[in-house]
Subunit: 182 residues, 2 copies
């Protein structure tokens, strides 16, 4: 960020009075431009003993497999966003279930939330951002070709809970793969 | 948003190719400025049979009571943000527990997440954004003077779960108080 989106003048990074961290501030109009994490919403769409995965047609992680998911939009709820992304990425009609996982990804300023879901039919089809959509049993899941660790972790929790017969909400954090010196 | 924060030229609102909703776009440098919901993180700090509430020293809802909470910052996890806000607003040292509620507030583009927490001591004290911090039994909670519906709902869920002896994750949405015609 170099310019104020309100008035077009240059911004500077400095700590506002009463605050405790640097923000982009406009000395001309006084606007403080806060920057905050974004939410990624998705589902675990289930049909019989299988889950629906999408192979990504876009970067990052082109060609790798993921659950249908994407950025939450203004004006929607988390449930609405998860359902919308499932339709956009996989053309899949679902009955949305409970929130199932919330995984923080602080090094990219994201929080990923996945909901359980039941497919209403198997007339799904790849949207513009997917190369392929396919149902997988647990044994068939391509663990070595997963796009994101939040998705792999969510699927591991899902299969564990399914085996136990009791589903609960899971939370966790994925840290940067490259540890930095303290 | 009127100006591009990257290059300072004027932006226009239009639907990018392959997208399905209008975004602020810069014709000069090509940047698309996405706008997404923000997360508010807080805790339900407990001491014996009481919960800790803060009376707000800032707008909106100056003078009304709330759980310690605030906007998630880049670079932190939801758990870290909830713990930080509890220290900033109430000077309270806590042992953070499980995520307890996630409440969507789509008309202001927010998602509020609250964690259970145990106070480590009662040496809490109002931070700069609180007028007062106080422990309340369920019977003492000032329901008519609560700052936000997400907080009141979270407290109702908390007291219900405490009575039942079983805590679980709760989700819901708070809609605009003024229904708009369809």
């Amino acid at each position: 960020m170099k310019f104020c989106s309100v008035c077009g003048h240059e911004v500077q990074l400095s700590v506002p009075p009463g605050d405790n961290r640097p923000r982009y501030r406009c000395a001309h109009c006084g606007t403080i431009h806060y920057q905050n994490p974004t939410m990624v919403l998705g589902t675990i769409p289930v049909w019989e003993d299988k889950v629906l995965l999408c192979r990504r047609a876009i970067e990052p992680r082109y060609g790798f497999w993921t659950l249908p998911a994407g950025f939450m939009e203004n004006g929607e709820t988390t449930a609405e966003g998860a359902q919308r992304e499932t339709m956009e990425e996989a053309g899949a009609r679902i009955a949305l279930g409970e929130a199932f996982s919330m995984v923080d990804v602080p090094h990219v300023n994201q929080v990923h939330v996945f909901f359980r879901a039941e497919l209403l039919d198997i007339a799904f089809a790849p949207g513009p951002e997917s190369l392929e959509t396919r149902l997988f049993t647990e044994a068939e899941v391509p663990w070595d070709a997963m796009a994101f660790r939040t998705v792999a972790q969510t699927l591991r929790w899902f299969f564990e809970d399914r085996r136990s017969g009791v589903y609960s909400m899971h939370t966790g954090a994925i840290r940067s793969p490259v540890p930095r010196p303290a």
